[in-house]
Symmetry: D2
Subunit: 345 residues, 4 copies
C-alpha cells in the first residue's frame, strides 16, 4: 500500500502518516519525489484498511498495490483448479461442460422432458430452480422442496448431474442433499452469511457474478468459500448492468480471460441471462467458448412461450441441439472438447 | 401490458399472440396501426410474466404499462406514510431526522463517546454496525452480539434510538431485540429470505438501495416487506455504482423526489456511503435535504483516522456539529425542521 | 407512439391529449383499459417529439413504438449491405476482413514495417492514426498531413488499403484523398457536423460506437450518413464505459448480433480498445468473430513497449500472426473465411 | 508515475524497466518492498505515456501519481477563477448566476416572450439553441443563423446576456459574434478541433460534461481551452448516463464539490437535462445550489407542451418564478446571493 502525499504536504503531515503506520505495527518507507512524497507501507498482510489514511491532512490518495484476495489468486496457486464431480466429470480441465435446463422447475413432466432433451443434445448437468429469487413478491417463487424432489427424480432417470440455487443458509443444507453443485445466484453474491454456509458444505459451489460486481469483488466472494475450506468452486459470468436497453444485461465476455489470468478457478458463462434474448444465446455461447469459458449454463424450456419465468431467453430443445453442434466446433478450434455424459452412481 | 408486433407480422402471428393471452385467462385487444399492430392485455393482475411473448414470432417488444408494484405506490395510497418510533419521533412527516454514528461498533468507549457527541449535535438516532457485511473475508466483521449489547447500553445512557443492520434471517430476531429500526443493507436489498423475515418483525425497517438497483427494484423490495404485513418502512439512497473513480459511488440525489412521486414511503439519504469522501459529506447532506430527504444517515467517528472501517468517509464530531447547523437552515427553507431528541421510555 | 394516462386521469385530461395530437395533424386513438387509458398516435412519421406529452396533466408516460431510425433498419432493407472497396474487397459479405496497424503513425520506418508485417500475417487493410484525438492537450496528437503522406506510401508499397480517422469537417477532405475508408472515432460519434460532411464524401465510412452510446444512437448516427447519401458504412464495436477498472472498457460483444438483427449494415469489432489489455486481444478477437463480426480492427506495433500511444493494448507482429491463425479457424466454423489481400490499382 | 512489478518479477525484468525509463530521459527509482518492487519515475513532466510499461514482462501495473492536467488544477492556482461578463456580471464569485430559456430558439415571439419572462423572474443570462445537435437526422436541427439573429434581438430588448451552442469550428465564429458565452455541448466535450477553436475565441466558454465523461476528462477538455489561451471557462454538470430508466440521466450533484476541490474553475448545474423530468427540475436546482453550484442553466418555454424539443423537461414561466424564489433562499443559507440583472452596453 502506498500513501501519496499532496504536493503541498508539510513535513509534519508526512511525519504524522509515518507515525500512524508505525502505530499499527507496520514499517513506513517515505519516498520523496520531485513533485510529491509517497509513503510505502511494508509488512502489510492485507488486513490493513487504507481508507483511514485517505482523509489525513496532506494526503492526496491511497494506492493498493497488493490484491486484496489471496487463496483465489494465481500468485497463490499457479496451476488451474479442477472441480471434481460424480462420475468422473471435471470442470476446469480440458473439457467444456454444458449445463442446461429450465429457469424454474415447474412440474414433473416439464423437468423430466427437458432433462431427457438436453441430455440427448449433449448436456451433462441439469439446471433448474426450486427456490427462485424474484424481484417482485407476486412473481412465481419456485416449487421449493417439491422442486428439489423433482430434480432428484430427473437425476435418477437421466444420469444428469444437478445444479440448483440456495437462497439462504438453511436452503444450503436442503439443496446439498439433492444437488451435485450448489448455486449462489447473482443477487446473493455478497450475501456473506450464505457464502459462509456454502463454504462449509461438502459440495461444489457455482458462484454467479453479481449484477454490478467487479471481478475483484467476485474473487473476494469466492475467497469467502475458500476461507471456510471449500475449494470446489466454479465462477460464472452472467451479465452486468449497463445503460443500453437493447439487451437485458451487458454480457461481459472479457471477464473470462480476465478471471483466468488472475485466478486458478474455472469460470463458465451464462449467455441466457447475459443477453436476455433468445436469439442472442447461441452466438454468445459461441463467443464465450471462443474466449475460453470452461462451460456454459443455458436455459432450455420445452415450450418457452409458456414458461413461468424467463421465457424470452429460453431456448427450445431443437435450438439447444444446434447450439451444442456449433459450440463443439468452436471448442475443437481451441483444442478442447465438450464433455460427454458421465455415469452417475 | 402491450405486445407490439413487427411491421411484417402476419395475421397468423397476431392470432397466435391473441390466443396465448386468452389461454392465460386474460382478454386480448388487438389494435391495428398504420405501421404495426399492438395487442393490449386486459385484466392483467400483475402476475403475468410478459417475457414469454417477447420471443414469439412476429413480436417486436412487450411494454409494461402498469407498474409491477402495488402497495408501495402513490396510486395505492396517496398520502405520505409516517413511521412511528418510540418517544413520539416520526419519519416521513414534517421533521428531518438525523441518524449518526460510527460505521462499526468497536468498543464501549467508542460507541458511548460518539453517542453522546452526536446527540449533543442534534442526532436523534444512533447508527453503528454490530454485524458488518465486508467485501473481504479478512476484513473486520463487527463485534456481533457484543456490539448489540453496547448499542443497548448507548441507547439507555443517551436516550438515542438505535438503527443497526441484520445480515440474515436469524440476525433479524437478534437485532429486533435491541434496535428501534432494523437496517437491511445495500448488498442485501434483494436477499428475499431476509426481506420476508424482516417483513414479519414488529419493528420498522430501513431499506437501503442496492448498489445497482433501479428505483423500481427498490420499491419492489419494499413491497416484499409490505406483503408480509410490515408497513413501517424507511427507504435510503446511498449511492449507486458509476464509471468515475473520482467518488466511491454516484450519489443519486434525484432518487429522492423520484421516490416521493412514485411512493408514499419516506426516504432518507446517506451521503457518507453516497460519496465515500469525508469532505463531500456536508455539501451532499445539504443537497439531499434541499431535494426533500426525510432524514440523513451520517457516519461519525471520534477519531476517523483510526476507524476500523470506512474511516475515509467518517466525520469527526466537530464536523458533524457544523453539518447539523447547515442542514437545519436548509430544512427551514423548505418549511421543515430537524427533529429534536425524543424521550425514550 | 403511445401516450399512457394515469389511473386517475380525468376525461378532460384525456380529451386534452387527444386534442393536442390532432392539432399536430395526427390521428388520436384512445384505448380505455381496465386500469388506465392509453392514447395511440396514428400517422406519426417519426418527426414527432413525444416528450411534449410527458408532462401534460394526467399523463403517466409516453412509449415509442416505432424505431426512430429508418434507412439503417432491416425493416427498410432486408438483405445485408455490402461495402465495396478497391481491388474487389468487400465488407459485410462472406469474408471476415482484418484491419491492423499502429494506433498512431509515428515514422516512415514504423508504418512501413508494420504494414509489411500485418500484410504478411493476413491483414488486408492498414490502420494508423494521422490525426489523433487525445484526452490531454499535452499528449502526442499525431503527425497530421505528414502521417497521411506516410500512409499513402505504405499503401503503395504493400497494396494494403488504408483506414484512418478524420477529426473535423475539413479533415474529412484531407483523409478522403488518401484513405480507402474514413474513420469516425468514438468521441465523434455524435459530432453531427462531421457526420454530415462524411455523408457527402465519396468514400466508405467506418463509424465507431461512442463510449456510452446505445445501439439506437449508433444506428441514428449511421442514419446521418445515409441521409446525406452515403450508404457505404461499416459500424464498429469498440467497448463501452463500465464500472470495473479490471478492463479499460466493457467490450460489448453482444452488440454484434444485436446490430445484425436491427440493421443491414456490417459491423466489425475492435478488441484492442475494447479491452485495453494486450493479452485479452486475441481471446476477444476469437469471441467477436464467433459472435458474427464482419471484421476486426487490431492495433499492432513493431515494438509495443515503445509506442507513443496505446502501447499496452498493441500486439507485437508475432502475436498478430497467431491471432490471425486462430481467427481463421473460428471463421471457418461459421462458414466464413478471412479475406485475402486484394490487388490495389 | 510508479511502475509496480509482479511478485515474481526477476532482477532482469526490473532492470529492463529501469533502462526503459532512463532511455526516455527520466530517472528511475527502484523501491524493493517485502512483497514486490516498485519503480518510481522522477522528472516526469506529464508527457510520459505510462501505457508502454503496462505490458512489459514482470510489470503488474502502472500508477499515475500526478494528475494529468495542469492549468485547471487547484495546485496550479489556489484561488477561485472568476469569469467576467459584460455589465459587471461575474461567475465564480459570491453570486449564483441563473441562465434560463428554451431548448431551441423557435420564433421571434417565442424567444422574446421567454426572455422577458425569465428576466422578470430573476435570470441574467438567456439560453436558447440556434444550432441544435440532435440524435436523429430527422429531428428539428435549430434555426441556425436566423436563430442567432433572434437571440441578438432578445439581448437588445431585455438586457439579458446570451449563451448559445457552437457545433463546429466555423460555428464558433458565428456564435462569438452574438453570444456572451459560447457553449460547448455534452456530445462535443471531446471534439478537440472545436475545443481548440473555442480556446482561441475571445469569449468565455461554457463547457458541459460529456454524457459518460469522468471529472478528470472534463478537466482535461477545459485544459484544451486554457492551453490555447482562454481562461474564461465555466464548467457545467448536466447528468451522466446511468442504468435506471426512471430518469433521463443520473444528475451527478457531487461533481460540484469534487470540481471545486480539484480545480479553480466555476461550475454550474443543468437540472433540466440532468433529470429530464419537469417536476424534478426545481428540487434538483435547490440541491445543486445547496451543494455549491455557481449557477444554474434552466430550460423554460412559454408553452412546454408544444415545444419543438425537450418539452418534457422545460418549466413554464410561472414554475421558473417559483424555482428562483426557492433557490434564492438556499443561496442565502450558504452566504451567497442570486445575481441581479446587469446593464448591458
Amino acid at each position: 500500500m502506498l500513501v501519496v502525499m499532496q504536493h503541498s504536504a508539510s513535513d509534519a503531515e508526512i511525519a504524522r502518516v509515518v507515525e500512524a503506520i508505525e502505530e499499527m505495527g507496520y514499517q513506513a518507507r517515505p519516498m520523496p519525489g520531485r513533485q510529491r512524497t509517497t509513503v510505502g507501507i511494508v509488512g502489510n498482510d492485507g488486513k490493513l484498511d487504507g481508507s483511514r489514511f485517505t482523509a489525513m491532512p496532506g494526503v492526496l490518495e491511497v494506492i493498493h498495490v497488493t490484491q486484496p484476495y489471496k487463496q483465489v489468486s494465481r500468485e497463490w496457486k499457479a496451476e488451474n483448479s479442477v472441480v471434481h464431480l460424480p462420475g468422473g466429470l471435471t470442470i476446469g480441465g480440458e473439457e467444456v461442460v454444458l449445463m442446461a435446463g429450465p429457469c424454474s422447475v415447474e412440474s414433473e413432466s416439464q423437468i423430466l422432458g427437458v432433462a431427457h432433451a438436453v441430455r440427448e443434445a449433449g448436456a451433462v448437468i441439469l439446471r433448474g430452480g426450486a427456490f427462485k429469487p424474484r424481484t417482485s413478491p407476486y412473481s412465481f417463487q419456485g416449487l421449493g422442496r417439491k422442486g428439489l424432489e423433482l430434480l432428484r427424480r430427473a437425476r435418477q432417470e437421466t444420469g444428469l448431474l444437478v445444479v440448483t440455487e440456495a437462497l439462504d443458509p438453511e436452503g444450503v443444507d436442503l439443496v446439498a442433499e439433492v444437488a451435485d453443485i450448489i448455486q449462489i445466484g447473482a443477487r446473493n453474491m455478497q450475501n456473506f452469511s450464505l457464502l459462509k454456509r456454502a463454504g462449509r458444505a461438502k459440495k461444489p459451489v457455482l458462484l454467479k457474478r453479481g449484477i454490478a460486481a467487479t471481478i475483484t469483488e467476485l474473487l473476494l466472494s469466492a475467497e469467502y468459500l475458500l476461507a471456510e475450506g471449500n475449494d470446489q468452486i466454479v465462477l460464472c459470468e452472467r451479465g452486468v448492468r449497463g445503460f443500453d436497453p437493447a439487451t437485458r444485461n451487458v454480457f461481459d465476455v472479457t471477464a473470462i480471460p480476465v478471471v483466468h489470468k488472475l485466478s486458478h478457478l474455472p469460470i463458465i458463462a451464462d449467455p441466457s441471462h447475459g443477453t436476455g434474448l433468445r436469439d442472442k444465446v447461441t452466438p454468445m455461447a459461441r463467443a464465450a467458448v471462443a474466449a475460453g469459458a470452461d462451460g456454459l449454463l443455458i436455459e432450455v424450456h420445452p415450450d418457452p412461450d409458456r414458461a413461468l419465468s424467463d421465457g424470452a431467453q429460453s431456448l427450445a430443445p431443437a435450438q439447444f441441439v444446434e447450439l451444442v453442434r456449433q459450440v463443439r466446433a468452436i471448442a475443437e478450434v481451441l483444442g478442447r472438447r465438450v464433455a460427454e455424459p458421465a455415469e452417475v452412481s
